[in-house]
């Protein structure tokens, strides 16, 4: 079986017609479903948060069978993810797409557990610390996309679990947990 790094590619990735948007509804639904699963699965294992439609993305082409997805097909598959709440367009032109292999709510739960597990219930951390600090090393939060992290933090903020405030340096924000 073909592999991308340590990621096992599914069989359909080697079957040329899956790289062409299918005109028949039932066939297309199946095709879109397979691609959605593949994109989410791949992004999760490779920790990819943003896919640029115009950029090189490993899944968008398969050199072995000399096929690549058209722009239309890329947009169709990502739009299907967006409509399920598993992705979001980052701009109106649909050029960049945020992939939510965990929904924002699930990310919020992960942060909640992370804080509990590390006894940080009443402490203060910077957003950068959560993303790349020692505490988060080895957890799913390590290296998380900043946009997603902020969205998840806002969810917790609305529930009164923490407060976000401007830090001393202009480019970082602080988080005061109160769980």
């Amino acid at each position: 079986m073909q592999k991308l790094g340590d990621f096992k590619l599914p069989h359909f990735f080697n079957y040329p017609p899956y790289f062409t948007l299918q005109p028949v509804r039932d066939t297309r639904e199946k095709q879109v479903q397979l691609w959605k699963d593949l994109i989410l699965d791949y992004c999760k294992t490779q920790k990819i948060f943003v896919i640029g439609l115009e950029e090189d993305f490993a899944l968008f082409s398969n050199p072995v069978i000399e096929r690549s997805l058209s722009h239309e097909a890329r947009e169709a598959f990502l739009s299907a993810l967006v409509s399920e709440g598993r992705a979001e367009w980052l701009n109106k032109g649909h050029r960049k797409c945020l992939i939510l292999w965990h929904r924002v709510q699930d990310w919020a739960d992960i942060i909640f557990r992370f804080v509990k597990d590390n006894g940080l219930e009443d402490s203060v951390m910077t957003v950068e610390e959560i993303r790349s600090g020692i505490e988060s090393r080895g957890t799913e939060l390590h290296g998380i996309d900043r946009t997603i992290l902020m969205r998840a933090l806002r969810v917790l903020e609305q529930k009164g679990k923490l407060a976000i405030f401007k830090g001393t340096s202009a480019d970082d924000e602080g988080v005061k947990f109160s769980m």
């Binding site: 599914p10 069989h11 040329p16 017609p17 095709q31 397979l34």
Partner: protein, 248 residues
């Protein structure tokens, strides 16, 4: 016999008839008894055979197929009923019913991918993956199980296309044109309109019409990604390495 007039003559005739009937009944009875005896012997022999080779019948697909052949020759269908002594002895009925259910499951699971038409070989491979620790299953077994499914009227059927056998689980009627295209596609897994026209000497309309039908039925998928820019029609049911196993 000289016919004698009078009551005496009639009585003699009646008595003779009775005698004849008695003898006839006796003969018939002896025949039936003999027949019964023979059947009983046959049955015990067959039972003994089945008992002796029970494991072979269960485990060895080639032996199983020969056993079926033998049964067919003597006019016994071990699959006709699950209540007979065959079922009790061999569980052979259960074997095929179970196989039938698994075939239905696989056909349903792969239908979105292949449109309800699956290569018999591939079906066997998928069956093997399911029952890795179980007895081997041959194509012959699959064919038997499928023939039993026909009773349900669910449209399960085996069609021959070229050298391959395909199992159809949707009520789509494939006409001769479609079959010829499927046969042509076996070489590479796909065809182009041009190829169909050239190889089968069809008009362009006829080829496109048949391909469109196959596409609508979910049996074909289009591929516009090749360098030469010609649209290819792929048929998942004839290309064996394409079935996604993990996601079914």
């Amino acid at each position: 016999m000289r016919r004698r007039p009078g009551i005496g003559g009639l009585q003699t005739a009646a008595a003779a008839r009775d005698q004849y009937r008695l003898v006839g009944e006796n003969v018939a009875k002896i025949r039936t008894d003999m027949m019964k005896e023979q059947l009983a012997t046959f049955r015990t022999q067959l039972e003994e055979f089945a008992r002796k080779h029970k494991n072979d019948i269960r485990k060895n697909p080639a032996f199983r197929s020969q056993f079926h052949e033998m049964c067919a020759k003597v006019g016994v269908d071990p699959l006709a009923s699950n209540k007979g002594f065959w079922a009790e002895l061999l569980g052979i009925g259960d074997f095929y019913y179970e196989l039938g259910v698994q075939i239905v499951e696989i056909c349903l699971a792969t239908r979105p991918h292949n449109g309800g038409l699956i290569n018999l070989q591939e079906l066997c491979i998928l069956l093997h993956q399911r029952k890795s620790d179980r007895e081997a299953v041959s194509e012959d077994d699959c064919l038997r199980a499928i023939s039993k499914l026909k009773v349900l009227g669910s449209g399960f059927e085996v069609i021959s296309v070229g050298k391959k056998k395909l199992v159809r689980s949707v009520p789509t009627e494939l006409n001769k044109d479609h079959n010829e295209i499927l046969e042509l596609a076996q070489a590479q897994g796909f065809v182009t309109v041009e190829e169909v026209e050239r190889r089968l000497s069809w008009t362009s309309g006829r080829a496109i019409d048949a391909l469109d039908t196959l596409l609508d039925e979910g049996l074909a998928m289009i591929d516009d990604g090749h360098r030469d820019g010609k649209r290819r029609y792929w048929f998942p049911c004839v290309s064996s390495n394409s079935t996604p196993v993990a996601d079914t």
